[in-house]
Amino acid sequence: MQLTPDDIIVFTLAGWEVNATIVNTWIVMALLVGISMLITRNLRPDVPPNRWRTSLEVIVKLIQGQIEEVTRNSARHVMYFAGTLFLFIALSNLMLVVPGFSPPTSSLSTTAALALSVLVAVPVFGIASGGVGHYLKTFIEPSVIMLPFNIIGEFSRGISLAIRLYGNVMSGAVIAAILLTVAPFFFPVVMDMLGLLTGMIQAYIFAILATVYISSATAEPDAPALKKEDKS
């Protein structure tokens, strides 16, 4: 039983074994970019939006609204990052229902890559927002004693992000595969439906947590940091 698509080698390119995780990631990327290009071409303010453009606008405004609720500002670069996280994870998890398609998010390598991206993005956004001094100062707050704990917390939340996403997606796939052997005509359908739901929730949680981390890094020193409880 394959637990991760990393083990499936699709083709070899100049000695580099391209596995199903990367290929499926490209498929998801192609879908996202292709649909976006198809809908957003020839956009003009004087032309009324069609239903596809309206759908995209709803999705983008929903993402922007959620991010603004967390960060209390409408910084677009945060939305580019967190929104892409959400869309990529959500579409990957939705494609769980495609027969023979292994979601890239069921690979620990993918979730680790996304978590590393968040781990790097948090200090990058923090430094870009308030400078190096301000960012480093957050590690000794509320006192210097908290420095090691803050450093551990910084890394542990990246690890928790990766493991959480991987575990949820992979567990759904594993449970579906196990139930397929026990009751092949009923339970897999129910589990796939449940997998769609949890996949969307995981995408939302991952994006929101990334936004919270970035928001806490970019918040003013005196302003109360808006942090959401990690309840997942």
């Binding site: 637990l3 991760t4 990393d6 580099w16 596995n19 995780t21 990367i22 990631t25 490209w26 990327m29 996202l32 970019v33 976006s36 290009m37 957003t40 956009l43 303010p45 004087d46 939006p49 453009r53 995209l56 606008e57 983008v60 405004k61 922007q64 677009r76 939305m79 580019y80 990052f81 929104g83 892409t84 996280l85 869309l87 990529f88 890239p104 690979s107 620990l108 390598s109 993918t110 680790a112 890559a113 996304l114 590393l116 991206s117």
Partner: protein
Amino acid sequence: MSIDWITVIAQIANFLVLVWLLKRFLYRPILDGIDAREAEIKRRMAEAGEAEKKAQAAEAEFRQQQKQLLSDQDAVVKQALRESEDQRDSLLAEARAKLEQEQQDWHKHLERERQKFTAQLQRTGEETLLELTRKALRDLADESLEEAIVRHVSARLRPIAGELSDAAGDSKEAVATTRDTLPEAAQALLLADVKSLLPGINLRFESDPQQSPGLVLRVGGAQVAWTVDSYTEEFDALLNERMAAGASGRIQPAGT
């Protein structure tokens, strides 16, 4: 469960590329389009607000004008009545003046026609009188009218011959003027009378178509004449009296 670090690096690269692609093809076009549409809607809303303000101002002005118009309605009606009365009086005065002018023109025309008729009647009367007199003289006395006129003038000349000679002064010529040329017999008769009554004075005969029928004899500053003017003047007076009586609707009895 293991982590393939090469896949991790590839996925990080894939994710960064995806962020850039979605920023380029999804977020920026959609958000810019929304912003542009919001700006367009704000602009149109502002224009609509301006248009509404203008419409409200125009409505208020219209209502004010309507109110003012209603309040001024009585004054406007009175003014219109006064103007119409003035115009009616003006038109009536103009019509009266025109009528009076036409009446005056008509009277003048009638007067001209009357004078023309009177003159024509006078000439006809003179001609008729002469013809009748000539015929009566020929029938009754077998004498021509011209010779009778010459004898009448000679008869009137005789008692004042001395005065005429004095009046002639240095002038040695007398002029006998008639409307038509006198017949030779009458000329000879007058010539003989003048020679006998006014010796030394030559007689010359002239004709003047404007002169009344008859004979006018001028010697220096004096003259002796017989014309039908005196008769026609009486005839004119009688004719005017009868015409006046006809115009007033009354007929005067003859001889009164």
